[in-house]
């Protein structure tokens, strides 16, 4: 590929108060160790997950319904309806979890922290880059904005063939930034993961001190001041230990710490948390910007990005607008008339009825599609054009999927059937500009996709006769 240009708009859009100076980034492109520029179009595969799904009947409305935000990209997408993941059902296990595990792997979960097998992106990576990715590249980047986390498959969507996660989840913009721009530690690569986990521990320690120093603290003024001093020292320590060590001289300024709940605070036992739409979108778009930037500067070619976990529980408030019109005013708790978990937007999926308006459900899905489209469109900007004249979006395999085709939990078969899928053309390997009723199992769809990349390994059981789904091929 040619040397990519970095769009000021790409970098700055959605970053809020974050300062990432354009000149620095341009200089960075010329430095070594950041993924060498290549003349040809590289192979890339990313999985984009959004939580809670789209009931199959709503998919039938095409771009006139909840899929409207994808319409501007329709010529570069293949919408696949009637894709079944029923084989991923595990009796007694949460249906959200089953469906989410099936997304991109087509296999049921294997325990609480593993999938049943590899995800699409990882099999392609192993086939295409058998000798490894170019030096200095992040081999797999897994990131997301999500909150519910009781099981890994709810939010991680890139897996090794043994079912283990392909990379550590980066759930804060700062974490993603560090992962891409490599500011942490001088330790050997094997210790980097540990360093990141230690930093994550420190984040939870900070959260605890913040509580005791804050307004909800059970402590009096003097004690709070003392704890606040301790907190300042921790932040100083954090900065010295993790931010000032081996920082690349040309690295841009790091994003400010996330204001949203992360770690255990983000998921208080499935009870859900309050969330303002503006805050959610701001953080997600910052993640999306950083991820797109990482792709653009060829720091990453494989991985997954998650917008809200499977079975996510948020009590969202705020006005939702699209295309200059106000679509809906979110206020889940008030509109549901219940507090706690029963007041979360998740309930709208439970309440889906084909013969009803499903107004709130539609608005939530529409919003999710707007945000998925936001990320996809970042990869489709003019500056994302590569040597073959196509954009990164067109040249990559980007698989968009979710966990369920019905949210009522009344019929596992129906729930795991008709699961929304959309893919990009992958450098003219797959059809685009269409909405297809593929009427196939996810495992066959995925294996057909893999076949187009020359991947010999197959997802799922070896003794199963694979059904080619040729209709998706270009």
């Amino acid at each position: 590929m040619t040397q990519p240009r970095i769009s000021r708009r790409t970098v700055l859009k959605g970053l809020g108060g974050i300062t990432i100076g354009l000149p620095l980034l341009e200089e960075m492109m010329l430095t070594h160790g950041w993924g060498a520029p290549v003349a040809e179009v590289p192979t890339r595969a990313f999985n984009v997950f959004f939580g809670l799904g789209i009931p199959a009947p709503l998919q039938e409305e095409g771009y006139d319904g909840v899929l409207e935000p994808l319409k501007p990209l329709k010529e570069k997408l293949l919408i696949m309806r009637h894709v079944d993941q029923v084989r991923c059902d595990e009796k007694g296990i949460n249906a959200h979890y089953d469906g989410a595990s099936g997304a991109f792997t087509a296999t049921p979960p294997n325990g609480e922290a593993k999938s049943g097998g590899a995800s699409i992106d990882q099999l392609i990576r192993r086939t295409v880059y058998q000798d490894g990715l170019p030096k200095g590249m992040v081999s797999t980047l897994v990131a997301g904005t999500f909150f519910r986390r009781s099981r890994v498959s709810r939010y991680v969507h890139s897996y090794n063939p043994d079912g283990s996660v392909a990379a550590t989840m980066q759930e804060r913009p700062r974490d993603l930034f560090d992962r891409v721009f490599g500011t942490i530690g001088s330790s050997a690569d094997g210790d980097l993961r540990k360093e990141r986990l230690k930093r994550s521990v420190l984040d939870t320690v900070v959260d605890q001190y913040k509580f005791y120093a804050g307004q909800r603290s059970p402590l009096g003024k003097n004690s709070r001041a003392k704890i606040a001093t301790h907190l300042e020292r921790i932040r100083e320590f954090e900065q010295r230990a993790y931010e000032m060590k081996d920082k690349h001289p040309l690295a841009p300024k790091a994003p400010k710490p996330s204001e949203l709940a992360h770690g255990g605070q983000a998921d208080p036992g499935g009870e859900g948390i309050d969330m303002r739409l503006g805050d959610l979108v701001e953080e997600w778009r910052l993640m999306a910007d950083l991820y797109a930037l990482a792709v653009q500067i060829d720091r990453v070619r494989f991985g997954a990005l998650t917008f809200l976990a499977a079975g996510e529980r948020l009590r969202i408030t705020g006005d939702y607008e699209y295309g200059g019109r106000k679509v809906f005013t979110f206020n889940d708790e008030k509109q549901l008339g219940k507090s706690g978990s029963a007041g979360c937007s998740h309930e709208w999926w439970h309440q889906f009825r084909e013969n009803k308006k499903n107004e709130q459900l539609r608005a939530h899905i529409h919003m999710k599609m707007r945000e998925v489209a936001y990320f996809l469109s970042l990869l489709d900007q003019p500056e994302m054009k590569e040597a073959n004249g196509r954009t990164v979006l067109e040249n990559s395999l980007i698989t968009v999927s979710t966990e369920s085709g019905d949210g009522r939990h009344s019929d596992p078969k129906r729930e795991l059937s008709g699961i929304f899928h959309a893919i990009t053309g992958a450098n003219n390997r797959f059809k685009t500009g269409k909405i297809l009723n593929v009427k196939a199992e996810g495992i066959d769809v995925y294996n057909s996709m893999l076949g187009s990349f020359g991947v010999k390994d197959r997802l799922g059981p070896n003794d199963r006769e694979h059904q080619q789904v040729d209709k998706i091929r270009a």
């Binding site: 922290a113 009781s150 605890q208 003097n222 004690s223 100083e236 770690g263 605070q265 036992g269 499935g270």
Partner: protein, 844 residues
Amino acid sequence: MALYDFQQVKDAIIPDVSGVSPKLDLVIKDGKHVSVERGFLRITGSTQISSEQNVAGFADVLRQTNELTLEAWVKPANLKQEGPARIVTISKNPSERNATLGQQGDQYDVRLRTTRTTTNGIPSLSSPKKIVQTQLQHVVYSRNRFGLARLFVDGRVVGEEKIVGDLRNWDNGYHLALANEVGGDRVWQGEIHLVAIYNRSLTPDDARQHFRAGPNAATKLLAEKKTNPNAELFETRIAGILAKHCLECHDPATKKGGLDLSQKSTAFAASDSGKTLIPGKLSESDLWVYVESDEMPKKRTALSAQEKEALKTWIAGGATWTFETIDPALYQHQSDGVRTFVRRLTVDEFTETVRVIFDVDISQEAKEILPPDLRADGFTNTGYNLTVDLGHVDAFAQLAEIIVNRLDVKKFAQRFEKSEKLTDDNMRKLVENMGRWVLRGPLDADEINIFRGISTTVASAGGNFEEAVGFILQSMIQSPRFIYIMERERGLGESRIVTGYELANRLSYIIWGGPPDKPLLDAAERFELQDEEKLHKHVTRMLADPRARTHSKDFISQWLNLNRLNHLSPDPKLFPNWSPQIAKDMQQETLRYFEDVVWEQQRPLADLLNAQVTYLSPELAKHYGLSPQGNSIARYELEAVSSRGGLLTQGSVLTIGGDEASMVTRGLFVLHDLLRGTVKDPPPCVDTTPVPTKPGLTNRDVAEMRLKNNACGGCHARFEPLAFGLERFDGLGTYRVKDQYGNTLREDGQILIPGSAEKIAYENSTELMNLLAKSERVQESLTWKVTQFCLGRPLVAADARQVQQIHEESQSHGGTWYTLIMAIVTSDLVKTSPTVSLSSEEKR
């Protein structure tokens, strides 16, 4: 508004002990199935226990606040009673009520009449099924003015609904009844340990605190609230103002103008100029007249407007003087500044905590990595001085990793949860159980979320169970709840009973310098520590544990600053035979002496001043001029050695005076640390360079010159004579009768006990030691010092009354370490805690 603790049930009357008027006593009208036990009722069948008066009194108050809380400690007899079976009801009959707390099988159910519910209080708020248990449970129903009603069981929210409307339609004519409906027919069987009704709502935090405080807490708090505001003003403000502005000239020793303002008897007596204080009569009280016009204090800063206002209010309000003597030592710190101050664990406490909780010894690493704790107010465990710097944060992170690396993580986790699954349920259970042990008390839901979150992060990075638990433990070790002794400080500004877990931690860090063991945590869980008898048993058990002896030595070490000896380097020209080993032996002498007197002989603490025994190495014996016994540290009887016997004759204390055996430094030690006296710092213009001795001029001569000097004598007279009896000990504690110039040294003198006008003469150091050992002031001071060490903070005026009670209690049982610690930990200084109200913080 109404409180029943069942402690004083007499003639079938259950008194309302809330102290709120009008009282609403209950009458046991049919006692056939009721037995009155100590502190609770046992109901075994149909009964009638109800108020004679109707509830008009508190119904009016409830209408104003539009809030209500019903609180009960109950032990249901079975899980079958229904109706709901009435536990507490304010009603007329089975279908007309203001409010009812009942049991419906294995659920609790509360009905409340509002303008939007029925006269039967429907719809009710019910707990989920399987909440009721046949054990003592804390049940709270609380509804706020906005209609949010919550049901708490054992401190946790089990039900929440909007019960809209207000309480305007409450019926004044209904009665309060227990264990059955008014008029019968809805019998409840079981035990009722406490019932309370409030005209305000409780927050989840309040409910949790009430639960943790146990069933006896409410009555104890009430018993405390019998104070006279004028008396409180005297104790918290006026005594301090007098100490700060007046006693420099008007104490028993100086008594300028014939006025001694330190004592009640003299303050109210006539002075040279007339009546100083006439309760209620401002213009006739000289004290006010002089202070208001700024004529007093002379040549000193005038009282501030706030101080004058407080003085005015106090005199006008009756000038209540609650204790005989004002002790200036009490007023060196503001009460608010030190009584509620979170305390970090000292290095030793951190090490001991790790040892007990994880069975991992990090003493060496902790000493190397953690910055040392510094002394403040005479101790290194003083909370406000246990600060945290970058070095601490770095060290805690390193130590957390070291500890976890040395731990068999899986085996450790197995103690709390057998399963090794990373599932949500399993990890939450593990975090909850493990956290209770590691963080020395139960975790709340937010904390469980935080630690559980670490395991999800580890899992999403491909980590396994062992790694997840390891990182959770690292986070717990760096948590404020591990590093600090965390207690609730916010409240209504009043004293509160500490929770069982808080008390367990206080006990263990006071007695052992480490965390509670399992029996203590279990006792906290079962509310046993609120029971005097059981508390006593636990303290006795703890004091018999070797850790109590070890930790007590930390007291003597901190009090006498024995670590100072590690750096003692006397001038080799003056002391050519000195060896650093002698300093170590001096430390050991004092520590072994303390153990002998306090633990082996179990003598009164004041005997530390004159016990005729010590422990010396052969080198130290020679240094003291005694014949060595054996090759190692040995016990020496000192009856026949007139110059030695008691702490003040040991090198560890005598070296305080430096090479020159300064009488100023030694005298100040006795004044501050044994007599609890105060003296102001020398004025800035004074040359404090020590005057050297020479032929014909001893230390005593130099001191007496200072005492005769008008500029110095006023203050130096308070402390230098206290060291006269030690003149024959040189800077390193060697006894001699002539100094290096051949001057003859004396050992006679006089002491002036702070607060007293009369000096007491002594002939030699032995008499001085005996005087000190017998001095009530010294005995009190030892109580103060040990109490300060136990609480980890300086004592202030607000503590004075309780410390005096501790002292009297301890002395009445022999004044030993055992009796003193027992008195301290069973006192309200340990069992209760002041709180800070949000409004008072905002005012400041």
